[in-house]
Structure formats: structure tokens, C-alpha cells
């Protein structure tokens, strides 16, 4: 552990509860290095999470933290941001948290383009509750609730968020730890709703059931299947078929929600109701 860990983590809460080799710990490391690079004062950061293994992160991060209910982290975070716009708000969600029970909050936060950075731990499974399949479990993969394999196609979280109107969307992995820090920094600096989808690994509840027996097998899988944007542009659809693209996927300069809301208040207080 170095000075960065000691500065940004609640040392009395460590070691964390995540399983041996779980991606969540590696991601937390990439995140605090991002905050360190951004130079934010700890009191100016709010970290909000939902429920799941990933949601436990707010127990360890030493900022203003809020551990909320399953699927509702973005609703709480919206309240935090509206009440205290000066705070840099980061929301941590699992794939189930963000796209199953919390799917509605996710798409509408994207649509509003509120200045929040959403960090989604996509381990393709409900980790905490024992390995039920989630909306991001790929077809034909095994889960406790899919003993013969899943039949559903899966959500592509990054595409979903681009479609719903998020103004910054990136995808990283728990293996490409340096790149993940870069993406979190860029997402935080972007004004608007930023989504960083992280392809991560749950060796215990996903890997073991899907022929990726160890954390090392899962990281090797990421290394072999992730393709950087620049390289992907030179590849054919066939070559990209069972791979995924990492890096900045989308960026747009569009009105941000808190600013628009303030503008509305200011206008109405001037006596201009907008009705001429």
C-alpha cells in the first residue's frame, strides 16, 4: 500500500471483503489514482453506490459517501448534485444494479445529461447474491438461475447509454488498470453525464461456472478480447465478432441538467415565465 491508498481509503476498514482476485479491488485502485490526478479535495467528492459487491466500495473510499438501495444510487446522486452542485459526484453500480432494477434511472440520467460520473462494474452476473444471470450475461453462459445456459441476448451498456443520451461514454476493463484511470479522469472532467462501463471479473460466481476457473484466466480473457479503438477501426466486423472495444466511445457537447435548471430558476425569478 502506498501514500495514495492511505490518503483515499479508510484504512481501518481494510482488508476489504471482496473475494481473492476480484476485479473490484483493482478498480478501486484505478479510481483513487484518478482522484489523485484530478487533484480534487476529498471533501469536494461524493461517492454514491447501490447494493451489490461493487456497492461495497463506498465503505472503503474516504470521501463523502452514501451507500444507498439496490438500483437507486443514481436517484440519490441526483439529489446530492442538485442540492450541492459544487460536489464532484461519482456513482458506483453493478451491472444488475445499473441495468436491471436500476435501468430506468440509468436511461433517464443519460437523457437528462446531469453532471455525474457513473462507473458501472460489469461482471456479467449478480455477484453478491450468488450468481444469478443479469441483463449483461451473454447468451449461452451459465448462472445459478441458468443451469442450462441463458437464452436472452445481453445489453451492451455503453451502446445503451449512448442511445439514451449520455454525453460521455467509455469502456475500460479491470485488466487495463492504467487506461481505466485515464478514462475516469476524462469522464470526471467532462461536463454532463459520463458513463464508464468497466468489463470486470467475478471469478467466484461467473468465472467458475463458465470455464474461466481462476482470476488469472478471467484477466487473460479480457486481455485477449479487448480491442483498443484505434485498432478496431482497422478490423472487419467478422474479426470483431466476439471481441469488445475499449477506450472513449462517445463524446458530445450538449446542455447539462443542473445548469439548465438554474437557468430556469433565474428566468422565472426575473418574472419571465416563458409564456411571453
Amino acid at each position: 500500500m502506498d501514500a495514495t491508498h492511505k490518503k483515499y481509503l479508510r484504512m481501518n476498514k481494510l482488508p476489504h471483503i471482496w473475494c481473492p482476485g476480484c476485479g473490484d479491488g483493482t478498480i478501486m485502485g484505478s479510481f483513487i489514482r484518478a482522484i489523485d490526478r484530478l487533484g480534487y479535495d476529498k471533501d469536494d467528492v461524493a461517492a454514491v453506490s447501490g447494493i451489490g459487491c461493487s456497492g461495497r466500495i463506498t465503505g472503503y473510499l474516504d470521501f463523502n459517501t452514501l451507500h444507498t438501495t439496490h438500483g437507486r444510487a443514481l436517484a440519490f446522486a441526483t439529489g446530492v448534485k442538485m442540492a450541492k452542485p459544487r460536489l464532484k459526484v461519482f456513482v458506483f453500480m453493478g451491472d444488475g444494479d445499473a441495468t436491471a432494477i436500476g435501468g430506468n434511472h440509468l436511461i433517464h440520467s443519460c437523457r437528462r445529461n446531469i453532471d455525474i460520473t457513473a462507473i458501472i462494474f460489469n461482471n456479467n452476473i449478480y455477484g453478491m447474491t450468488g450468481g444469478q444471470y443479469s441483463p449483461t450475461t451473454p447468451r449461452d453462459k451459465y448462472a445459478t438461475t441458468a443451469p442450462y445456459g441463458t437464452t436472452d441476448p445481453h445489453f451492451d451498456i455503453a451502446k445503451l447509454c449512448i442511445g439514451a443520451g449520455a454525453s460521455y461514454v467509455a469502456r475500460g476493463t479491470s485488466y487495463h488498470a492504467k487506461m481505466l484511470t485515464d478514462l475516469i479522469v476524462a469522464g470526471a472532467e467532462h461536463k454532463g453525464f459520463s458513463v464508464i462501463e468497466i468489463i470486470t471479473h467475478c471469478p467466484v460466481n461467473f468465472g467458475r461456472r463458465n470455464e474461466l476457473e481462476t482470476p488469472v484466466d478471467m484477466l487473460l480473457w479480457q486481455k485477449d478480447h479487448a480491442v483498443r479503438m484505434a485498432k478496431a477501426e482497422k478490423m472487419t466486423a467478422d474479426e470483431l465478432a466476439d471481441r469488445f472495444i475499449i477506450g472513449e466511445l462517445h463524446k458530445a457537447d450538449i446542455p447539462e441538467y443542473v445548469e439548465e435548471y438554474d437557468r430556469l430558476i433565474e428566468r422565472v425569478q426575473r418574472g419571465d415565465t416563458g409564456r411571453g
Partner: protein, 69 residues
């Protein structure tokens, strides 16, 4: 230019024996002990890339450059 030397420490108390540092150190500095915990066996090979520090999910590893002289 003289080769740089690095001191590597593993906090054995908090190591969870996941094998990540052992597998991903590009020059195989680590081996494992009877509990599968990481052991620094070939520190002289270390290039200081810090891949082990970045990937260890439990922040057990510290890599420091050793000053000459």
C-alpha cells in the same frame, strides 16, 4: 547507464493468494509459498513496470527504486 534496482515487498498478512501478480509480472519475479501467497523470489529481474502494484486487488505489493551509492 547502470541498471536500475527495485525493492519489492509483499504484505503477506493481506495477500489473498489470487495468483495475479505471479501470472502477470512480465519477468516472473514472484513465486508462491505453501499457502499460494506471493513471494518475491527474483527481485533482480524487476524492471519497475509496476504492473503487479496496479493489478493486485488487495494492494499488498510495493515497488520502490533502490538508490545507488
Amino acid at each position: 547507464m547502470a541498471k536500475k534496482n527495485f525493492g519489492i515487498t509483499v504484505d503477506r498478512k493481506i495477500c489473498k493468494s489470487c495468483g495475479i501478480c505471479v501470472a502477470f509480472c512480465p519477468v516472473s519475479v514472484f513465486t508462491t509459498d505453501h499457502d499460494d501467497k506471493a513471494v518475491v523470489t527474483y527481485p533482480e529481474k524487476c524492471t519497475g513496470c509496476r504492473q503487479c502494484e496496479l493489478l493486485c486487488p488487495d494492494y499488498c505489493i510495493d515497488v520502490e527504486e533502490i538508490a545507488h551509492g
